[in-house]
Symmetry: C2
Subunit: 339 residues, 2 copies
C-alpha cells in the first residue's frame, strides 16, 4: 500500500521489481544510436501483416513475448496489463492482446502512455491487486502519419519543428519480488495547456507539462536534479527539451548536467534528418525498455527519473482551432528499493 507524499506523488511501500523488459523497432530505429539495445528490429514495416495497423499490433505482441521470455514467464503469469497506443480507439493494443487471456485495462495518454501504464501497473502491484503486471505501448510512423497528417506515399514536406514518430514498441513486466530495478515513486500528471495551437510543434506544447510534473516530483520527494543519475523526458525533442531546461533555469534549477529526452536519444537527429527528434508512444517505451533499463541492470545508472510526455490533441481538435493540452506522467526507478 503506497503512501502519498505531497500533492501528486506516491511513495510505494514495497516497490515493485522490474522482472522483464523488451524493446522492438523498425528500420530507422535500427539505424540510430540505440541499435544494439533493441531485442528485435524489423526491416519489414508491415511486420509480416497486410496493413500497417496490423503491423503495429504485431510489434506489440513481439515486445510482450520478448519481455515474457526474458523474465522466464508466460502470459498466464500476468494478472493484468495496461496498454495503449496512438491509433484511434487504441486498436494497436486491443488487436495485439485479443488472442491473449490477460486481463486488460486500456489507456490513452498519447506519448506519455508508457509512463501512465508503468504508474498504474506499479500501484496495482504494490497494492496487492495483482502479483505481476505489465505495461505495453507502441507507435508506428506509417499509421501515425496517415492518421494525423498525410499518408506517407503522398510525400508531404515536414516543418522544421516536426518530430518523427518512432516505429517501435516497449513492454515492461513488474512483480512484487525480483532483482530490480524497482519503481519507487509515482507522480501523476495533470493536463497543462499553454495555448500552443501548431500540431507540428508538439514539443513546445508538451514542455510545460514536463516542467509541471518534474517540479512536482522535486517538490514532493524533496529532491533536486543532482539526486538522479539521469532525468529523461519523452518525447519533447530538441525544442521542447530546451524549453524545459530554460524554465528550470529561471527557477535557478540546473538541468544541464543529467537531463535528456527520449526523442533526442532514439535517433541521430541531425544525421537521420529527424528535424526536432523522435516522438510517439513507442519512442519513450523503446528507449526505456531497451537502453535505459539495461543500463540500470548494468549499474550504469542507479536512479532514474522517467517522465514521458503526451500531447492530448486530435486532428479534429486542431481543425476546430483548439490549443494542445499536454500531460507528463513520472516514475522514479531505482536499483535500491529504499531510495
Amino acid at each position: 500500500m503506497g503512501k502519498r507524499i505531497g500533492m501528486r506523488t506516491v511513495r510505494l511501500t514495497h516497490p515493485p521489481a522490474v522482472l522483464g523488459f523488451a524493446a522492438v523497432g523498425g528500420h530507422m530505429e535500427g539505424a540510430g544510436p540505440l541499435r544494439e539495445y533493441f531485442d528485435e528490429l524489423s526491416e519489414d514495416h508491415f511486420w509480416g501483416q497486410k496493413t500497417w495497423e496490423q503491423g503495429e499490433s504485431a510489434m506489440q505482441r513481439h515486445a510482450l513475448n520478448k519481455a515474457l521470455e526474458k523474465a522466464t514467464l508466460h502470459e498466464a503469469d500476468i494478472e493484468c496489463i495496461f496498454a495503449g497506443d496512438l491509433l484511434n480507439q487504441c486498436i494497436g493494443s486491443s488487436f495485439s492482446l485479443r488472442d491473449t487471456n490477460i486481463p486488460f485495462y486500456g489507456l490513452y495518454g498519447a506519448c506519455s502512455t508508457m509512463g501512465e501504464a508503468l504508474s498504474l501497473a506499479a500501484m496495482m502491484t504494490d497494492g496487492g491487486f495483482a502479483r505481476r503486471t505489465a505495461a505495453l505501448t507502441s507507435s508506428h510512423f506509417c499509421t501515425a502519419e496517415r492518421q494525423y497528417r498525410m499518408p506517407v506515399p503522398y510525400g508531404s514536406q515536414r516543418t522544421p519543428t516536426a518530430q518523427w514518430t518512432a516505429t517501435a514498441a516497449g513492454c515492461c513486466i513488474l512483480g512484487g519480488e525480483g532483482e530490480g530495478p524497482y519503481i519507487t515513486h509515482v507522480t501523476a500528471g495533470k493536463i497543462v495547456d499553454m495555448g500552443i495551437t501548431d500540431p507540428n510543434n508538439m514539443g513546445a506544447a508538451m514542455a510545460a507539462a514536463a516542467y509541471d510534473t518534474l517540479s512536482a516530483v522535486f517538490r514532493d520527494t524533496k529532491t533536486k536534479p543532482a539526486d538522479f543519475d539521469l532525468i529523461i523526458t519523452g518525447d519533447l525533442g530538441k525544442l521542447g527539451h530546451g524549453i524545459v531546461a530554460d524554465l528550470f533555469a529561471r527557477d535557478g534549477v540546473d538541468m544541464t548536467k543529467n537531463y535528456n529526452d527520449c526523442g533526442l536519444m532514439l535517433f541521430d537527429v541531425e544525421a537521420q534528418d529527424m528535424h526536432c527528434g523522435g516522438s510517439g508512444c513507442g519512442c519513450s517505451a523503446s528507449v526505456l525498455n531497451g537502453y535505459l533499463l539495461r543500463g540500470m541492470r548494468e549499474k550504469r545508472w542507479n536512479r532514474l527519473l522517467f517522465a514521458p510526455t503526451g500531447a492530448l490533441l486530435s486532428p479534429t481538435s486542431s481543425f476546430q482551432g483548439e490549443s494542445i493540452p499536454g500531460i507528463c506522467h513520472a516514475v522514479i526507478i531505482s536499483n535500491c528499493r529504499e531510495d
Copy 2:
C-alpha cells in the same frame, strides 16, 4: 490493500464509498423513462459551445461539477481522476479536464469505460494511493455518428441491429469513508473476439465479453445471479442482452429474473425508435450515476453487479476486414461494506 480471489477478481479490503454521483444528458435522454434521474438535461446539443466535440467536453464538466456539488467537495479534494470517451484521442476527456488541476489518468475502454474507471478508482482508493478519486465518461450522438458512421445531417438510414449513442455523461466520486454504497469487488475484463465483423451489430460482438466477465464474477466470488438484486450490463441492447441470457441458460444459469442492460433502460426502445437500444460510454455512465446509484441510496436495491461492455473496434479496423473485439469490466456495488 485488496485481496485477489480467483483469477480475475479483487475483494477490496476497505471498500471505497461512493461520495457523490451525477448524470447529465440531452434531449433524447430527457424524453426517455429515466428523465427524473438526471441531474441536468439540455435541449442544446452544443451545450453552449461552438462544436459538438466541445459540447461533449462541456457535458463532462457539468457531470463532474454536479457530482462534486452533491458530495460537497471541491476539485482540489479529488486526488486523481480516471476519464475517457469515444472520441479519437479521447479529446472529450482531455479538453474537459484541462482547466482543472486534477491529476488525470486517461482511459480507453469504449463503452465499458465507466466500469474500467470505477475499477481503477476503487483500487487506487483502497490501496491508499489517493484519498478521493473520480470516474468520468461521456458520449455524444452527433460526435459519434460523424466519427464512426456519417455526419448526422446526411440523414443515413440505420440498420435494425444498430444502437443509438447516448448524449450523456456520468461522474462518480469515491473516497475511503462515507455513507455508501460501496465498491466491494472489481473483476478485470479481458478481450473476447467471437469473429463478428458487422460494426452495426456491436451488441452481438460484446455479448461474449459480458458472458465471460459475468462468469468470472460468479466463479471468483462464489455467487449466482440470485445473490444480486440487479445485474446490469451496458450497452448490449436488445440483441446482446438476449445472447447473454441464452449463453447462461445453456450453462443452466437463470438470468431471467434480475438481469437488465443500460442500453434497454435509458430509452423507451420501441417508442423512441432506438432499434436495438442505447449505447456509448455515456449510456452506462448516466444510467449508473443517475438511476442506479440513487436507487441504491434509497435502498431500492442493496447489491448490484455493474458490468458495462465495450467494442474495441475502430472504423479503420472494420475497413480492413477485422472482427470486433469486446471487453467487459465489472464491479460489485453494495450498501453493505462486508458483502
